[in-house]
């Protein structure tokens, strides 16, 4: 995850994931914009952006927490995850309370993280197979 602890392959995969999430969200947003309306597309894109920001935040947070000594790691980990919890709750609550009809669109954008992870998992498995043979 960091220059001191990770190898180039791991670094490359972790750096690629946020861009893939965003690219998939843009594609989905374009599709939703054409199929439904502009605002739906915008919500899909916003969901993808939140998922990307969440992944980047968690990636840097996790690497910082894992590199710290155990006593400090617990405190900073709790602070970091507490902040994330409040932020996520705030974003979703605002959408639920102000645009409840657009919640599925936002969640669809937010879900782009799942196919991206699955794609990366399949890639890693195929690479492991090649490495084994």
């Amino acid at each position: 995850m960091t220059a001191t602890s990770a190898d180039p392959l791991e670094e490359r995969i972790l750096a690629r994931i946020p861009w893939e999430i965003l690219a998939l969200a843009v594609l989905l947003a374009l599709g939703a914009g054409f199929l439904f309306d502009f605002r739906t597309g915008l919500f899909v894109l916003a969901g993808g952006a939140v998922a990307t920001a969440g992944f980047i935040g968690m990636q840097s947070g996790l690497s910082r927490v894992l590199l710290k000594p155990k006593s400090k790691a617990l405190r900073s980990g709790l602070g970091l995850f507490g902040l994330r919890l409040v932020l996520l709750l705030l974003i979703f609550s605002i959408i639920i309370l102000t645009y409840p009809g657009k919640l599925p669109a936002f969640v669809a954008g937010f879900s782009t993280v799942i196919p991206v992870f699955l794609m990366e998992a399949v890639r890693a498995i195929s690479r492991t197979r090649a490495w084994k043979s």
Binding site: F55, L88, A124
Partner: protein, 82 residues
């Protein structure tokens, strides 16, 4: 172990981090959809969506903490072996 198969160890680490990264969004999504569906069914909009969102986030963070703890223990074990 890691010294024997560095490639495999890296993939295991990537797999562990990926599953941790996937845990939170999937819990939130499942919670949200359950709440949204129940709200539509019972006409209680938006309270059940909010409740299940909170439950989803909580369960996601709980799983994240457990995974992180496990990852921390494993990395400590790796350090001991070396």
């Amino acid at each position: 172990m890691a010294a024997q198969n560095p490639g495999r160890s890296n993939f295991q680490k990537i797999a562990a981090l990926s599953s941790l990264g996937l845990l939170l969004p999937s819990s939130i999504i499942i919670g949200l959809f359950m709440g949204y569906w129940l709200d539509k069914l019972l006409g209680t909009r938006p309270w059940l969506t909010l409740t299940f969102l909170i439950l989803g986030i909580m369960s996601g963070f709980l799983g994240l903490f457990r995974g992180l703890k496990k990852l921390n223990i494993e990395s400590e074990d790796d350090g001991d072996e070396r």
